[in-house]
Symmetry: C2
């Protein structure tokens, strides 16, 4: 049994009885039952997922994984490939959107190179898990070998396990990779059985002609590679990316450790589709921060039965939505732990 | 010219050119143009509304105004009237949901009695603006006199102006009043021209029979009082509430001072409908935090062309959604002021 298989075997559904106990506590608080809606749901799910009552979040972390995509040779992105490496440097300097929002939410950001094509700066905070300097152009053959797909996933697992060992108890998923919405669209089309044009968007902002090219490139990739929708690893290898594989590993490690994983944008969602295909029970550990402007994001959230908390029409990735969702999750924890009860406050309960 | 008329005459539309300048700055930041979606819109609107570039928020405040409603005699609420006063005490002790979420967002909560029926505790932090100990039962006649409606609005104006003079630069609206969803439904039906049953919900959690009674009570109120949809003051006096009048005043004072006002739940939204009817330009200063589970809330948000940022199915009021929205607004300010530009970070711009 491989390390990956061993980890998958450890992922078990959470205990729903814990959620009921949490709801019973929430119903004692000075508010009409259920009136804090999905904020209560968040608190309840934290208890279910972690098994901790009361819930707590002490060390939230966002994993922003970077990787390049050979498919950019087909002209599917508005930005040159070098931007992936440049943005890694920006992350390390703290000037990117995810840095700003993570500081706002009081959370760490772990930056890791899973397969950036160009040279990345040497920096003590940069984790190197580079599988290769960018994937192959998947419109002409597989993006990577099966061994590389496993290496990317296991890199993500190792990364997450190290953070979890340091006390991280809430995980957010972020990424950076010019061309990676093309990979995410291909993965979503295969794993949800949706036509390519319905899951392909404008990415960072391509025009109509480039969009048509992107759709054609993805269609060709599926024809050339014939990824097997029943096999998440095959889909990752044929039309995925190294940073996406890394995120699959982070998700699986989080689920195995019973830590809530906030799926952020479209690319992280595609990684979640693969993780859930590898082990269906992974689904129970996922939360969705927001739904991006990418059309495939809604499709995959519906497929995963995840309902986002924020309606902000963001489409940046990096983990930006996860950081915002963390502020809501912290709010839910405080509601659970800091509100007065009807009894303690001397407030009358409902009469009907 | 009355004080109210003078204030109304000071409310002028914001300068859209400022918003364009703000967007030009946002487009320099290291992200694809517009990719932070409504977070960018929030930053832009803050600049437009306040005229301050860069935007800043230093002293956010939530006004949680309390008042009782004579219409509870008709059995329209799941909770006894005494809960209004009990919850005021809970607010003052810091144990209610709005206290918890305001602490989370780093904002003040101003608690004011605009018309609680029962005795309220004497407390240095409680502002007394009591117009009367509860409104009249508006299913049998007007909720209050026109003079009382003006007194409630002017009380809200005075309250907000005092806070603004102390430096408050972001306002959230909250309320507490057993029975006040009945008033909000009546106001929404009149001012949006929507059938009563389409804007009447379950409030704090009434059953089907009580819901039917609530609809019948509101219909009777509209028949008995014939509020004039062209006259916001008439609507407030006939089917409103003292805390709703206070919120109208807070909104108007905020708009006159060019301060963003975050409309929270359904009742605050009904106050916004009245404020906008009194002076149409008030609309430009409003932001919507979330859409509650009350059906009338969606109707009035559409009428005001406000789109909420959070999808949390909350229905508590108090200003709870405003507190959560404040964390997003602070995030938008930080994006505007803390992100690196393409130039400063040495990141390549788009090539298409």
């Amino acid at each position: 049994m491989s390390d990956l298989q061993k980890l998958l075997s450890r992922i078990a559904p959470p205990d729903a009885a814990l959620g009921e106990r949490a709801q019973a506590h929430l119903d004692q608080l000075t508010k009409p039952p259920g009136s804090l809606g999905r904020l209560e749901e968040l608190a309840r799910r934290l208890v279910e997922i972690t098994g901790q009552e009361p819930p707590r979040v002490r060390r939230p972390v966002i994993f922003t994984l970077a990787g390049d995509h050979g498919v950019v040779a087909e002209g599917v992105s508005a930005y040159p490939q070098v931007v992936t490496a440049q943005m890694v440097e920006n992350f390390l300097r703290g000037g990117a959107a995810v840095n700003v929002l993570a500081r706002h939410a009081g959370c760490r950001v772990v930056i890791a190179d899973f397969g950036v094509a160009g040279p990345v700066p040497s920096h003590p905070a940069l984790v190197i898990r580079k599988v290769a300097p960018g994937t192959q152009n998947f419109s002409r053959g597989p993006a990577m070998t099966l061994d590389q797909a496993v290496e990317a996933i296991e890199g993500g697992i190792a990364l997450a396990e190290a953070e979890i060992a340091s006390g991280s108890d809430l995980i957010g998923l972020g990424e950076m990779g010019i061309g990676n919405t093309t990979a995410a669209s291909a993965i979503t089309a295969v794993l949800t059985g949706t036509p390519v044009e319905a899951v392909t968007g404008r990415g960072t902002g391509i025009d109509e002609a480039a969009w048509e090219r992107k759709v054609a490139v993805i269609r060709r990739a599926l024809t050339v590679n014939r990824p097997d929708p029943a096999d998440g690893l095959d889909v990752l290898a044929k039309v995925g990316g190294f940073e996406i594989g890394g995120l699959v590993g982070v998700i699986l490690a989080g689920a195995a450790a019973r830590i809530p994983v906030v799926v952020d944008g479209f690319i992280a969602g595609a990684a979640a589709l693969i993780a859930v295909r590898l082990k269906a029970e992974t689904r129970h550990f996922l939360l969705a921060s927001h739904c991006s402007a990418e059309p495939g994001h809604r499709v995959l959230l519906d497929h995963l039965a995840l309902r986002p908390y924020l309606d902000l029409q963001m489409r940046l990735g990096e983990g930006t939505g996860a950081a915002l969702a963390f502020t809501l999750i912290q709010a839910a924890v405080k509601i659970y732990t800091e509100m007065a009860t009807f009894k303690s406050a001397g407030v009358s309960r409902r009469q009907t």
